[in-house]
Subunit: 355 residues, 2 copies
């Protein structure tokens, strides 16, 4: 049996904490260090920080270089930010230290969509340092792209793809609610779109480019639309309550065109308590092709739990991957880790890995 | 741009023909040869044979060694049989000629389930000949295993998995109908189970082992059950008509146990015209875990079309794979081929491939 797989987490927010908790549970993995950007978290034991009732003997560091040298992780999970421009410094440092990287930054699921030069550069740096880099998460990274791609695999031809995810923002805190315009007047929502305080879903471009690149479609343009979901009833969460006429969330869609025709339509309305107006949450994928494919589930796969699970479950895939920058469509499909992770690093190929 | 990817097909039955038709359509692929076991198909042009209205200038051969030397394929798709013992000779020949292999033989989706020594041997032979070997198909190979595994990827923990596929055998011919006992009396169905003329679904063991191995569960035993679906109404297809009291198909289930508990339940009733008794066809996957996952679609993904598409769509995945025996869970997820296949061989890694 291998030694433990040594894992570091970057980030101590909701996602970083959830990921750290999972790492502490999974046989074969050893959480060796936690990095936080927030100075005020320095030296705190991560047990209580991630919601455990005891200390675990690992304290938070705000000095990435030092903690890397001290803890020598095999792989790190980055949960500190959403954008490539914010993620770049940490990822580059990890790669230079020879550490494999899984990032849940949305733009990292397909960085070539928004930052092709960066994607090339990270790919080269990862190759020359012999490590693999992957971006993942529920969305982008799974529902509106990987699952679509997987289902396309049974099709001989495809005319168009529509994927829809209706979720419920009620469990989320003020910053997420603000990003979807929850609680604003319709006019303030419009102003928020213009000043970019209301952003809607983050990742349509990444999902569309992952699908199109994998299937071999050349996309001409993507049209995004963001509209206020104006409530007709009172809706209330621990963080906000809104009255009829106010905004409950953002109805965000993206349509990708090829040869003048819409070929990929992604729909992702995000709001609090959609059920109060009779709207069922869920995930739906519909492919018009040979054959037609329809698959749906309700309620929606919960985003936070799923993102934490995906980040941890991809560890054996990334450890087994060739060096370089990968997408979810380029590695073997994700799978729950229900045994000792060290025994999963390999499958049929395990013996070859040990050669 | 690469030269064309040269593909051979083994088999000229319903699946082999469907695969050959797709290969003739896809840009970047070149169908270079077709092999049939049936001597009477020798020298026939494959155009009319696969349902095209013109000849295509490729004739069927029943001499595998010779056609391999003459046509020099990069990759071959085997659609001649279901069992490892039947597939072995052709696969070994292909590998020795340095040809990558995609097989739709059901047992080849996870040959280690029934023939671990053969799986080891094929893996070594493939490695030493620098080719990749894969088994695929709708089932085993996709619905009741790969898709289950993919969905498990968003789970932190799993208590149990249930997957169900209800299909309609009405389009199928006499040999498939006989294998499910369609048209028999309940007594003859029982006798058929005993003398193995009624077999039910073929591939539960492969699906269960693929799931368990990938997730890291050790399975203690698998219990299979096959029961007659006795019709209460008249049901009729082009090949058979049955009266109330006769058998419309086989209700086949498999349950895998771990630590004394049922953890994987696969349900696959196969019958003609289930809708005549109000039964809707479809595919359903249900995972009890953290979080719970439910995904379903109706009607069922059509098996024949999907198997042909999967076999062709996996070509770029197999060409990019490391040498050896692979399963669908070990290669990147399948994806429809909607562009020139040669441009799909690589993605991010294309440049490295050309190094």
């Amino acid at each position: 049996m291998h030694d433990f797989i040594r894992v570091m987490v970057l980030g101590t927010g909701q996602m970083g904490s959830g990921i750290a908790r999972l790492l502490l549970e999974k046989p074969g993995l050893k959480l060796v260090g936690v990095y936080a950007r927030r100075k005020e978290r320095r030296s705190l034991d991560i047990g209580p920080l991630v919601g455990l009732d005891k200390e675990v003997g690992i304290s938070v560091s705000d000095d990435l270089e030092t903690i890397l040298k001290q803890t020598q992780p095999h792989i790190a999970i980055q949960a500190t930010c959403s954008r490539v421009v914010d993620a770049e410094g940490e990822i580059t440092t990890l790669i230079r230290h020879g550490v494999h990287v899984i990032s849940i930054a949305e733009e990292m699921t397909f960085p070539a969509a928004g930052s092709p030069a960066f994607a090339e550069q990270i790919n080269r740096l990862a190759c020359s340092n012999r490590v693999a880099v992957l971006g993942t998460g529920i969305n982008p990274g799974f529902i509106l792209d990987l699952l679509v791609i997987t289902l396309s695999g049974v099709c001989a031809n495809i005319q168009s793809i529509t994927a829809k995810r209706i979720n419920d923002l009620s469990p989320y805190g003020p910053s997420v609610l603000m990003s979807q315009g929850v609680g604003l007047s319709p006019e303030a929502f419009q102003a928020g779109l213009e000043n970019k305080s209301v952003v809607g879903h983050f990742g349509f471009s990444e999902s569309i480019h992952m699908i199109a690149t994998t299937l071999g479609w050349e996309i001409e343009r993507i049209e995004e639309k963001k509209e206020a979901i104006v409530t007709q009833v009172r809706r209330e969460t621990p963080f906000i309550s809104i009255e009829p006429g106010q905004v409950a969330g953002c109805y965000h869609t993206a349509v990708a065109y090829r040869e003048g025709k819409p070929v990929i339509t992604l729909i992702h309305p995000q709001q609090i308590h959609p059920s109060l107006e009779g709207i069922e949450t869920g995930d739906t994928i519909e492919i018009k092709g040979t054959p037609n494919i329809n698959l749906s589930g309700t309620p929606e796969i919960p985003g936070g739990q799923a993102t934490c699970a995906l980040a941890v479950n991809m560890i054996p895939r990334v450890l087994m991957a060739s060096p370089g920058l990968h997408t979810m469509a380029e590695l073997p499909t994700p799978a729950a880790i229900l045994g000792d992770v060290r025994q999963l690093v390999g499958g049929y190929k395990r013996e070859k890995l040990h050669d």
